[in-house]
């Protein structure tokens, strides 16, 4: 069946939980998870809604392969209007929570309104109950999750929750499940906090049954064989995780450094995936303890780290001596290279705090980097920071601000609003390295041209996970393209965007695409779901989802003027490396992209395009 055909609607204002039939026509047109929940959001809310008002809705959605035997089939997404960007927000997480929701018999949960008092939602198969959470408010994710499990006397319950960042209105607060898996970007946790919803705890015992079990078994076994035999998904990612990119991206001169002033970081090696394997001089142990898989995943790229107990950040804090989620490439970049810090233990500590209290290390690190540049030029003073010397490379500044942002105290309150608002307040909006208000990830668009178009057109603000052309431009997957040229990049970006929308709507992890083509994915969806899920129809579905998100953003007030990049990337040339002398040539790519998309020169889908996509 793929879908259970059932959604849970929770009215937090009234305190009610109701089961509804899933709209099967929408499921056939939007597949699940990202696409299907976006359809519900578009139909049920005004795109101009204040993201932090009770009128906004928050949707937790699974895909048809979530909770199935498909490799990586454990993903869920949180869809809402985001407070960081005022655009659609869609954040995807792994771990085990999504599969548990599916096992309980639900395809998605729609939360609306606002509770008068803090509550958490407990779902046990068909039963859904709102429970008081007054005593959990003010607690971290790491306190909330075990407390709920103990209170409900079931260690097998899965919990997704917000920490203090979500409660305190950090505009890039995330939602954390399984202690360190995150629906991390765009501030979905702030929306959850605005509704006085602390957590959703789930226990499911129903399992999952595909439409054609025999065909599904055959298709998923074939898919796992491809992943195992592929050198990237079978060896590279399990061994080094995403962090293997630190040296790659630095070497090609696309490593954003010190708020994107530079494109190469001399401390990259010290915070790389290779460094995580090296025994520390202090205690002879490596930062990396092991790798870890999410539900059903046969890649297992996750990093589990342990901080040196003698490191100054944790020396008197034994509560941080345990193994937990280590830095991924994006976190290591934002907390490290972007702030000019090459202390792996400090980055791991900051990353722990981001998980513990639920905020996005990308946006946080990038905002600290912007603040450091403002401080060094004198726009921010010691009076503003409360005495914190905010210089690039200052480990103390980073870790202190991480603690303050988690708690919503001092200068941490300003850091919690993101770099766009920070740079505007202090008179230098051009220094905010954002698109549509969301901070960039770890690829400099002067050295990887396609990523400039990816960022400018991403429906949720600057993001690498909407169109990862790095795969092609740097790694040669599925085929190598030149990162320094713009020719062909409009089509490449569009193809990546549509294919990624499919994967994000299926319940799979986007990392399968390092080994799987759509020809590997389609048979698995086809066997799981009723209907036509040919490659052709899947890609049309992906294009439909992309255009639906675009329509939502245009209705929310976004225009083509928002499809741009900060002046630094368009006017200030890279100073070193292969991209030396280059800026991002967005102006060459964007018109072609609009044309390929079937949009007007103002970036609006034409009626012909909308008709073709049944929008």
């Amino acid at each position: 069946m793929g879908w259970h055909g059932k959604i849970l609607r929770v009215d937090l204002s009234k305190g009610t939980c109701k089961a509804e039939d899933l709209n099967q026509e929408w499921a056939r047109n939007y597949l699940g998870q990202r696409g299907l929940a976006t359809k519900y959001l578009c139909e049920e809310t005004d795109p101009k809604v204040d993201p932090l008002s009770p009128d906004n809705k928050l949707i937790f959605a699974t895909g048809p392969l979530t909770g199935s035997m498909a490799s990586t089939g454990g993903r869920y997404s949180v869809i809402t209007k985001g407070p960081l960007t005022n655009c659609i927000a869609c954040s995807n997480s792994g771990g085990y929570w999504g599969a548990e929701l599916k096992f309980a018999g639900w395809d998605m949960v729609i939360l609306e309104g606002k509770s008068k008092k803090p509550v958490y939602l407990f779902i046990s198969d068909d039963e859904a109950t709102l429970m008081p959470a007054d005593d959990l408010w003010g607690k971290s994710v790491w306190e909330t999750e075990p407390t709920i499990k103990a209170r409900l006397q079931d260690p097998q319950i899965r919990v997704t929750s917000i920490g203090r960042a979500g409660e305190n209105g950090v505009l890039y607060a995330g939602i954390i499940n399984d202690l360190h898996r995150a629906a991390g970007r765009s501030g979905v946790g702030a929306v959850m906090g605005s509704k006085n919803l602390k957590a959703i705890a789930v226990r499911g015992t129903k399992g999952d049954k595909p439409h054609d079990p025999k065909a599904f078994m055959e298709a998923t076994v074939a898919g796992k064989k491809v992943l195992a035999e592929n050198a990237v998904t079978g060896q590279g990612l399990p061994t080094y995780g995403t962090q293997v990119l630190m040296n790659v991206i630095n070497e090609i001169g696309a490593m954003p450094t010190r708020n994107w002033r530079e494109v190469q970081f001399d401390g990259a090696a010290a915070i790389s995936g290779e460094a995580m394997h090296e025994p520390r001089k202090s205690d002879g142990k490596a930062n990396l303890v092991t790798n870890q898989a999410c539900f059903g995943c046969t890649i297992a790229c996750g990093r589990i780290s342990k901080i040196d107990e003698e490191h100054f950040t944790v020396k008197t804090k034994p509560e941080y001596w345990h193994a937990s989620g280590g830095v991924e490439y994006e976190a290591a970049w934002a907390l490290g290279s972007d702030t000019g810090i090459d202390d792996l233990e400090a980055l791991t500590y900051a990353n722990y705090l981001c998980n513990e209290d639920g905020f996005d290390p990308i946006s946080f690190g990038a905002t600290v980097a912007a603040a450091m540049e403002l401080y060094e030029m004198g726009a921010i003073t010691d009076k503003d920071t409360g005495g914190i010397e905010l210089k690039f490379g200052s480990v103390e500044a980073l870790t202190t601000l991480t603690e303050l942002t988690a708690k919503g105290e001092g200068f941490g309150k300003e850091i919690g609003l993101g770099s766009k608002r920070l740079c505007e307040k202090y008179g230098h909006p051009d220094l905010s390295m954002t698109v549509k208000g969301q901070e960039f990830p770890a690829y400099d668009a002067r050295g990887i041209q396609g990523m400039g178009l990816t960022y400018a057109t991403s429906n949720r603000g600057a993001c690498h996970l909407r169109s990862y052309t790095v795969a092609s431009e740097v790694m040669g997957i599925p085929e190598k393209t030149d990162p320094l040229v713009t020719d062909g990049k409009a089509g490449l970006v569009m193809a990546f965007q549509d294919a990624t929308a499919v994967v994000d709507s299926s319940g799979l992890c986007v990392f399968v695409t390092f080994a799987w083509s759509m020809e590997d994915i389609a048979p698995q969806i086809q066997a799981a779901c009723e209907g036509d899920w040919s490659v052709e129809n899947l890609l049309l579905t992906g294009e439909r989802i992309w255009n639906l998100e675009r329509k939502y953003n245009l209705s929310a007030g976004m225009t083509a003027k928002d499809d741009t990049l900060p002046k630094r990337l368009l006017k200030e040339a890279a100073k070193t490396g292969p991209a030396k002398g280059k800026v991002n040539d967005l102006g060459k790519m964007l018109p072609e992209y609009y044309e390929l998309r079937g949009w007007t020169t103002e970036g609006v889908p034409t009626n012909e395009t909308l008709d073709r996509l049944a929008l």
Binding site: Q235, G241, V244, V248, E251, V470, K480, F511, P578
Partner: protein, 83 residues
Amino acid sequence: MKITLKLFALLGRYLPKDATGNEAVLDLAEGTTAGEALHHVGVPGDLAHLVLVNGVYLAPSERSGKVLTEGDALAAWPPVAGG
């Protein structure tokens, strides 16, 4: 002719003993190509998936023809990806 060899991830095992971190300086004969330099330290050709000279990508078909020059940085990785 001296060049800097950088071998990352699982290719790190092919670094010379005097390597620092993931880097080593190689003293090679004039005219040595990128492919020959990798072969010199024992890197199997099929494991060198991503090869860069001074940060610029070198396709497999170009490795035997790319003559290195003094001060070049030759870097190689097995198949890797991230995100």
